[in-house]
């Protein structure tokens, strides 16, 4: 029974396409995040959502848009994919006040050709 699940796990697509990665958590957490792990292995935060409100939006291109239909889901939509978007994208969740303990999904490896 996976706590944080994301789909698809692997995604290969052409430049210019639009794609989405879905994330769901069944932990009852109130905050969800998207992190990007690039080729240099850095894990960098992209977005977080708390109670359907965007709290953080780091300097990511506006081609990336998070969508949260409810507290248990935070999907990542990417328009006009570029080669540099190739990375592993991790979804995570946490409970406010739990001192930063994030629960991560398994990651979605995006390859843009």
């Amino acid at each position: 029974d996976t706590a944080v699940s994301q789909t698809p796990k692997y995604l290969v697509t052409q430049m210019g396409n639009d794609k989405s990665i879905k994330c769901e958590q069944n932990l009852g957490h109130d905050t969800m995040y998207w992190y990007k792990q690039d080729s240099k292995k850095f894990l960098k935060i992209m977005f977080s959502y708390n109670n359907k409100e965007l709290i953080i939006n780091e300097t990511v291109p506006n081609r990336f848009s998070p969508k949260s239909p409810d507290k248990a889901h935070l999907n990542l939509h990417i328009n006009s994919l570029e080669l540099g978007d190739s990375a592993v994208y991790f979804c995570a969740s946490s409970q406010m006040g739990r001192s930063g303990e994030l629960f991560f999904g398994e990651g979605s490896r995006l390859t843009v050709l």
Partner: protein
């Protein structure tokens, strides 16, 4: 600009010995520090944390030490076991008094290899 630095990309330790993973940070606002462990093709999993009001936190074989004046923390694993072979990420957060919604700043990770 790396605010959390793990300068050792990899570390090899013999089974049964102590593993020491190091982490340095530059942001004085960080007040909560965590270690995450990651196996290949899996997401990072929380291992242990420490608040800036403490200098040591212990959980079984894992102990985290914090030296605020040096802006340095370390993770000790003793005794090291083969299952400990993984990538270990150091992470930090600022202003957690109001909750954890600001996310974490991660280091690049250290690949720990436990030799049998």
């Amino acid at each position: 600009d790396q605010q959390v630095k793990q300068n050792s990309p990899s570390l090899s330790v013999q089974e049964g010995r102590i593993s020491i993973l190091n982490c340095d940070y530059t942001n004085s606002m960080f007040d909560y520090f965590l270690w995450y462990k990651k196996y290949p093709a899996e997401g990072p999993t929380f291992l242990i944390s420490i608040s800036s009001i403490k200098d040591k936190n212990e959980d079984g074989r894992f102990t985290v030490f914090l030296n605020k004046s040096a802006k340095h923390l370390s993770l000790h694993i003793v005794p090291s076991q083969p299952g400990d072979s993984a990538v270990y990420f150091c992470a930090a957060s600022a202003g957690l008094a109001g909750g954890g919604a600001d996310g974490l700043t991660f280091g690049k990770g250290t690949h720990l290899i436990i030799q049998p």
